[in-house]
Amino acid sequence: MKTGMTVLVLAIVVTAVLPAAPEITLSAAASLTTVLQDLEVPAEASCGAKVLLNLGASGTLRRQIEEGAPVDVFFSAARLDMDQLQKKGLVIPETRVDLLGNSLVLVGGPEARPVTGKGELRAVLQSASVLAIGDPEAVPAGRYAREALSAWGLWDLVASKTAHAGSVREALQFVQSGSAPVGIVFKTDATSAAPAGSVKVLFSFPNEILSTPIVYPVAVVSATSDRAAAEKLVQFLRGDTARQAFRAAGFTVP
């Protein structure tokens, strides 16, 4: 007990007096969690500063920047949030890049059969008891799902039996746990699902049916305290090392 307390007190003291190295804060969408954590070490080496990752829903991260939180780089899962910040002059427009792309997929349990074509998709959706999607009002993946199904005239078929999830990962959980037989999520969510094989990709929606492409924009925040390091970090995210990691995680890199 006594040694435990000593260790605890020591740890608290050590974390409190850590030396202050140059730091930049990268606010990034929750769906980028795994891949960005893997890239932390090379990212810090390339921009010469400690990179602090702040992870959350793109809407939350946007509001933090609006209220003056000390963020240097914003990596959003949706254009909408970046557009709103740009309109208010809170990000530097010339540093903005559409870095990643993603696509929508229909997922089901491991025993479900793959779907080929629009006709079969209609049949599957018709017979399914529930369709799990992100809340279309708040979750980008849900918004895209509604748009894709509307474009093919399938939305009315499922509108009354969609289970709205608070995040795209939650929608995936609905399918993984068997609560919903099918769901619509991003391809990267389906491939990183754990344990592997607990969900199966049944169908991939073509990106052309969406009026706004699924892109992840990144930009330097206007209020940055270290613009040079922030720009170096964006450069790193556009570089080969990062591109390989993003591709491995299932993103498309234009």
Binding site: Q37, N54, T60, R63, E67
Partner: protein, 225 residues
């Protein structure tokens, strides 16, 4: 990711927040229980708001106040202080959401003390401060202890307001609940499960400590059984 960083941080944040909540909650309860305060229901209503608000809303309001564009945050920024995205912000968030629990428990505990005891002491010329420390506080102790335990538990589980004001920065402001959220979002089920297990252990330790303290209070000298 190390699972130790969020555990240490959570314990640190919850401990510091509980100390502040204890002092503020007990102090406010003493004032409100003993004196006539003008606009009393307005102050009490304000105090209880964080209990009614969803934590994300509390967090948003805190962010508006503490952010660089906010009233308080602007002043602090002039002094070179940054609260948002630090563990101090996590302490403030935990303090605000747990204060109503501490306050309500302390108020009920202080009210339950029979005024005759204090009256008797007063006739013997004992000072008000001494009466509070030697008579009221010991009798009210079980209720105050319950409030403290609730506040600590609430601070430990705080998620929404912390995510908003302290951010979710691993190793810096990522407490256990935020780390579980990130682990689930990132598909790291193992880390999520470990942290869940740790939370359960902390809860049981808390219950055991409170039980031990209660036994000491009700049966002083007999806890060596």
């Amino acid at each position: 990711m190390s699972v130790f960083a969020p555990i240490l941080l959570s314990l640190k944040v919850a401990a510091v927040a509980t100390v502040i909540t204890f002092l503020a909650g007990l102090g406010l309860a003493r004032i409100f229980a003993a004196r006539r305060v003008p606009l009393r229901s307005v102050w009490e209503g304000l105090l209880l708001l964080p209990l009614v608000f969803p934590p994300t809303i509390t967090g948003y309001l805190l962010l508006v106040v503490l952010g660089r564009r906010g009233l308080l945050g602007g002043l602090l920024a002039h002094a070179g202080l940054q609260v948002v995205f630090t563990w101090t912000a996590a302490v403030i968030a935990s303090f605000i959401v747990s204060l109503p629990l501490m306050y309500q428990n302390c108020k009920a505990a202080l009210r339950s003390v029979e005024p005759q005891y204090a009256g008797a002491a007063r006739t013997l010329g004992v000072s008000e401060g001494r009466i509070f420390r030697r008579i009221t506080l010991p009798i009210a102790a079980p209720g105050i202890l319950a409030g403290t335990a609730l506040s600590f538990a609430r601070a430990l589980g705080e998620f929404g307001a912390t995510l908003m004001t302290a951010g979710n920065i691993p190793g810096r402001t990522q407490t256990i609940p935020l780390a579980i959220y990130s682990a689930v979002e990132g598909g790291r089920t193992r880390d999520a499960n470990i942290l869940l297990g740790v939370t359960v252990v902390i809860s049981f330790v808390l219950v055991a400590v409170v039980g031990w303290a209660e036994r000491r209070m009700f049966f002083p000298g007999r806890d060596s059984r």
